[in-house]
């Protein structure tokens, strides 16, 4: 059965990464059971699957045909891979483009060009996580609060934002799940105040407004 797993999940087309409507919906398994093949059998009816007493598949007969889209990694230079990662992020911006002004979109593109370039990245560095970047974009559209001072990327690929204003400093780390971890340092009449939290993007929008503008 392990050979079968490899045939499904690691066909002889490595190395590549899946995108879009591809085999990525399959998930790896140590041994195949009815449950493990649930997704694939749903997508490609016509299988004949026999199950043993322990619900482990004993035989499978049939055909699966899927179309996959992947980017050849072999032979790509580091510069080309950085460029591809940059394009992937810019393509993601297009999903929200109708909610962004041309100037806002340009600012995001310029920030991306600034952050993701061959001078500052090294072979082996983790590129920004696309899910984290989408979480940031969703938040930016929702919050209409886009005058960040800098955009960066954490070691684990999360998008980082920072605002530096007369009131203080606010930082945010956008997780792929949509949650935001944030810190704030503001100067008040009583001194310097510190705060930190982990919030939904909606709640973080309120926090950002409070810490940066003094309003909710």
């Amino acid at each position: 059965m392990n050979n079968l797993v490899q045939a499904i999940f690691q066909p002889s087309v490595s190395p590549f990464s899946f995108r879009g409507d591809a085999l990525h919906q399959f998930r790896p398994a140590q041994s195949i059971t009815e449950k493990d093949l649930a997704v694939s059998t749903e997508m490609t009816p016509g299988y004949d699957i026999s199950l043993g007493k322990d619900r482990t598949i004993t035989t499978i007969q049939g055909k699966v045909q899927r179309s996959i889209t992947y980017k050849e990694q072999q032979g790509r230079t580091f510069e080309e891979r950085v460029f591809d990662a940059l394009v992937l992020l810019k393509v993601a911006v297009s999903e929200y483009a109708m909610h962004l002004d041309a100037s806002e979109r340009r600012k995001i593109f310029e920030d991306l060009d600034d952050v993701l370039n061959v001078e500052d990245w090294h072979d082996g560095d983790r590129f920004p996580e696309i899910a984290s970047f989408r979480a940031f974009l969703k938040w930016a559209v929702y919050a209409s609060f886009r005058e960040w001072t800098s955009l960066g990327v954490s070691d684990d690929g999360n998008v980082l934002l920072a605002w530096q204003t007369d009131r203080g400093l606010l930082t945010a780390n956008f997780a792929s799940t949509g949650d935001v971890r944030w810190t704030a340092k503001i100067t008040s009449l009583t001194g310097v105040e510190y705060a930190a939290g982990r919030s939904t993007p909606q709640y973080f929008a309120k926090q950002a407004r409070f810490y940066l503008e003094g309003t909710e």
């Binding site: 050979n3 079968l4 045939a7 499904i8 066909p11 002889s12 087309v13 590549f16 995108r19 085999l23 299988y47 035989t59 499978i60 007969q61 049939g62 055909k63 699966v64 045909q65 899927r66 179309s67 996959i68 889209t69 992947y70 980017k71 050849e72 460029f83 591809d84 394009v87 992937l88 810019k90 393509v91 911006v93 297009s94 999903e95 929200y96 483009a97 109708m98 909610h99 962004l100 041309a102 979109r105 969703k138 938040w139 559209v141 929702y142 993007p201 909606q202």
Partner: protein
């Protein structure tokens, strides 16, 4: 029907002009096209069909090249070169038909230079729209107040319509062109919004002009049909969302 001026924030997520060929392209031709276009569309992805054939005691795998998806540096102009289709794609923000049309002509000229003129069996003008409606505007209201295409539930049965998906084809009244529309609810793309899919594919697969000037005129007519379908399918309430 007069064309509505372009919207400042059109809901178009993807505009695709697809030319389908009578005879498929060979792997060599696909690769030559890829090489020709790689300066303008440098991010290249390969599309393959993978077939797994399960037998009681063995598994046979078969791979075949379908084509290439190529993205330009601006990340919003793409081409799809496949065995039977050549597509020019524009992602959001959509900046107008003239721009897209120019790209289609450019791509077609590049295609001709590499493999010559080929007989075309189908032309498709497909616009995928995603209409994002703030929850504050849609709560307690009917979707038909925004989009006139949807599902009908018998009176007295449902309190409100939730998730749905439709796929319908028809012949457009004025031009006789074929139209496929797909619509339905989507996972919300924006926080605190509902997202509605409205996908319009205007296509012809008969009497395709062979003269190039007539061919381009036909493409423009298809665009007008697409606009007509769109405008007749949405309400002023929806139009206000695109301002």
């Amino acid at each position: 029907m007069a064309l509505v001026p372009p919207y400042p924030r059109p809901p178009i997520t993807e505009a695709v002009i697809e030319l389908q060929l009578v005879a498929g392209l060979s792997q060599g031709e696909l690769e030559r096209l890829r090489e020709r276009q790689k300066t303008r569309y440098p991010t290249i992805e390969t599309v393959e069909n993978i077939q797994l054939n399960f037998q009681p005691t063995s598994i046979a795998t078969d791979r075949s090249l379908v084509g290439f998806k190529m993205t330009s540096k601006n990340a919003v102009d793409l081409i799809m070169i496949q065995q039977r289709t050549l597509s020019s794609v524009r992602l959001a923000p959509y900046v107008g038909w003239e721009y897209l049309f120019e790209k289609v002509v450019e791509n077609y000229e590049a295609f001709k230079k590499v493999i010559g003129r080929r007989e075309i069996s189908r032309i498709g003008v497909r616009f995928i729209n995603r209409i994002d409606i703030p929850l504050t505007k849609i709560q307690g209201r009917d979707l038909y107040e925004f989009v006139k295409v949807g599902v009908s539930v018998p009176n007295g049965l449902a309190q409100s319509v939730g998730e749905y998906y439709i796929n319908a084809t028809f012949i457009e009244k004025e031009t006789g062109m074929s139209v496929r529309i797909q619509g339905g609810t989507l996972v919300p793309a924006i926080l605190e919004h509902a997202s509605i899919l409205f996908d319009i594919d205007v296509f012809i697969d008969k009497a395709i002009p062979t003269r190039e000037d007539e061919f381009w005129i036909k493409l423009n007519e298809m665009r007008a049909t697409k606009n007509r379908v769109f405008e007749l399918s949405i309400t002023d309430e929806a139009r206000r969302l695109f301002q």
